[in-house]
């Protein structure tokens, strides 16, 4: 059996410096007081210890992107597509929860008949390097959602936390090329160490059977109770690695031209489903909160066969009123179904 290759943590910047020769490398970093994935530059404040406050979906599905330009002069007008392609990029140090989140986004943007090229072209240009997680954060509960924090087999390469070093193995052709480059640069050496066990989670929840349970709970009073304190803000959805809703909106430069943008949106906003004439299928907080949790735990699994919550805990960490998805799962699990 081949031995694990590793590089010392002290050599992290050397590894990143090498990688940025060939690609944009998104690393967990501290930017203006908030941790997020951002393109590595010499001097970047790298944060490998805990997961980021904002999910790495930004690298594949930015909060705002131009999709085409338009112009309008009297009865004439034109549309000019914006090239969706990007250069090669690496997402470095993804946790398992976020890798799972990308699989959810893949299902939405790349399957069921249509490919969204704005996501697709970025996804294709991206090499995903996951990092085993040994010290889960206060709000993490990925293990409860069927995600293995220690490693994720869908990435291109997996890193392991070996204490003072990172072990790395390739999982795909893209990953192999990357590991080969690191070898050639003399950055890797053999090691006998292995990643220790993941520490116990503070947050745990039994999500077994939640989809089936929620199929019986559309009209349950629980939604009314849960939604009372919700602010219907976008915090939970915008931080979430799996939330994929977007708006297609217009940004006019002047009377004659402008750009169409694809930008994040959320079912929590009151005008999200509002139609001309004022009919809103989800008129109050109750319906919007129900939609959010039903989508994550019932509708998405029905459509794509997997839960749309990966247990990353971001919404729990930042919800201004502590409306926690773990509580929703627990309360729904305990509730009497309404048939």
């Amino acid at each position: 059996m081949q031995r694990l290759k590793a590089f010392p943590k002290a050599k992290l910047t050397a590894v990143l410096e090498m990688m940025i020769q060939k690609a944009t490398v998104w690393v967990p970093s501290m930017i203006a007081g908030v941790s997020r994935f951002a393109p590595y530059r010499p001097g970047t404040d790298i944060q490998m210890g805990t997961n980021t406050a904002i999910s790495p979906k930004e690298a594949l599905f930015p909060s705002t992107e131009k999709i085409y330009k338009f112009s309008a002069y009297g009865i004439d007008g034109d549309f000019e597509p914006v090239d969706p392609s990007v250069g090669p990029q690496i997402l470095f140090g993804l946790r398992s929860c976020d890798m799972q989140g990308i699989l959810c986004l893949d299902d939405v943007f790349l399957t069921r008949g249509y490919v969204d090229d704005f996501y697709g072209s970025k996804r294709e240009a991206t090499t995903l390097i996951t990092l085993g997680c040994v010290t889960p954060g206060a709000d993490c509960f990925c293990a409860s959602m069927g995600v293995n924090p220690a490693e994720h087999d869908a990435s291109d390469a997996q890193m392991y936390d070996l204490g003072d070093a990172y072990g790395i193995i390739a999982r795909s052709v893209k990953g192999e090329a990357l590991v080969k480059d690191l070898m050639a640069a003399g950055l890797l050496s053999d090691t006998d160490k292995s990643q220790g066990p993941t520490a116990d989670f503070v947050l745990k929840v039994d999500s077994e059977g939640i989809t089936e349970k929620l199929q019986q709970m559309f009209d349950h009073p629980l939604w009314d109770e849960l939604s009372r304190k919700c602010l219907n803000c976008g915090t939970c959805a915008y931080l979430c690695p799996t939330c994929h809703c977007f708006d297609i909106a217009e940004k006019k430069r002047n009377q004659h031209c402008g750009v169409k943008i694809k930008c994040w949106d959320t079912c929590m906003f009151s005008e999200y489903a509002l139609m001309a004439g004022g009919h809103n299928p989800r008129p109050s907080k109750k319906e919007r909160v129900r939609q959010r949790f039903m989508h994550k735990l019932r509708y998405f699994p029905e459509r794509y066969g997997k839960l749309q919550c990966t247990g990353c805990g971001r919404c729990i960490a930042k919800c201004p009123v502590n409306l926690e998805i773990t509580d929703v799962i627990k309360l729904a699990g305990e509730a009497k179904s309404d048939g």
Partner: protein
């Protein structure tokens, strides 16, 4: 269980059982020791879930907006800072006085959960900055009082059951620093200021948590909600975000009650209060010192014309 919690539960039970109120907004113990989120109850037996401690930081007054068109009378608990939100909603004619029952609680100062290091191990935490700077630790308006709270429309010392604890923890001890951040930013060069705000606005997600929690942000339809008019757009670029931030700050100018909730809920830690305080400082300088939401019958400086108002822009 602490004494305030006990009094809370007793009063809530009584109010709901007698039918005096249809619903009640308070706090409950959350999933971890450092969380005490909002709770809405309608039945007397649910009163057992109420809880109060130094993590009941949520200002509950904004939640009243959900009931502004209803006929039900709602009760809610307010700390000193929260209570100014009630005045805000009343002055803005968002709620009817007789449809809300305000219960004042004394406040020991709220702890900063950002200082938690071990989620399993309760420890004494430092106070939030806003509590160190607090000038209104006692409710400015209340129909009922618990825990020995006292109503005071003026800046005052913490009163009631937790008065000594509040003093010990330093509530109000840094009142003089209220405008320190504004002064620090004012001292920057134009380029430095630009860089500072640009970095902050780069972060904004346009999640609108700041708007949604705010008792002063009470428009029925916010222009940032509507894509119909074409005045604003949804793109979250630094320029558009700055436009949002400044519009929001100007729209609560003279009405912001300094509860600090916008800044607390911002998932991106944008120093929103720096903008609000800048506006407050300017209003104080132009029209004389005042505190929004402390005097129900008083007129807000921007809503009151005086012959000697400064008007150098005319």
């Amino acid at each position: 269980m602490n004494q305030i919690t006990k009094e809370m539960r007793d009063l809530a039970r009584e109010l709901l059982a007698s039918g005096e109120v249809k619903g009640l907004i308070g706090w409950t113990k959350g999933s971890r020791w450092y969380l005490t989120p909002p709770l809405f109850i309608t039945r007397p037996e649910e009163a057992e879930q109420l809880y109060f401690d130094q993590f009941a930081v949520n200002n509950l007054t904004g939640l009243l907006l959900d009931y502004r068109y209803g006929d039900d009378k709602i009760a809610l608990f307010v700390k000193g800072c929260d209570s100014r939100g009630i005045v805000r909603l009343l002055q803005d004619h968002q709620i009817k006085r007789e449809k809300v029952l305000v219960i004042g609680v004394p406040c020991m100062g709220m702890s900063d959960k950002k200082a938690v290091t071990d989620p399993r191990q309760p420890v004494e935490l430092p106070l939030l900055d806003k509590c160190l700077e607090c000038r209104y630790p006692n409710p400015v308006i209340a129909d009922r009082l618990i825990g020995g709270a006292l109503v005071s429309g003026e800046p005052s010392e913490p009163k009631g059951l937790t008065a000594s604890e509040a003093a010990k923890r330093g509530v109000g001890s840094k009142q003089a620093d209220r405008f320190a951040q504004v002064k620090a930013i004012e001292a920057m060069s134009a380029d430095e200021k630009y860089a500072f705000w640009q970095a902050q606005h780069e972060k904004c997600l346009r999640c609108y948590a700041c708007r949604n929690i705010c008792p002063a942000c009470n428009c029925r339809e916010c222009i940032f909600e509507s894509d119909k008019k074409g005045w604003v757009n949804k793109s979250a670029t630094p320029t558009d975000n700055a436009f949002f931030a400044v519009t929001r700050a100007m729209h609560v100018a003279g009405r912001c009650v300094e509860c600090g909730e916008c800044e607390r809920v911002c998932p991106m830690d944008i120093p929103i209060m720096a903008l609000n305080r800048k506006v407050i400082q300017d209003i104080n300088e132009l029209f004389g010192e005042s505190d929004a939401g402390t005097d129900l019958d008083g007129k807000m400086p921007l809503g009151l014309f005086k012959n000697d108002d400064p008007e150098e822009f005319m």
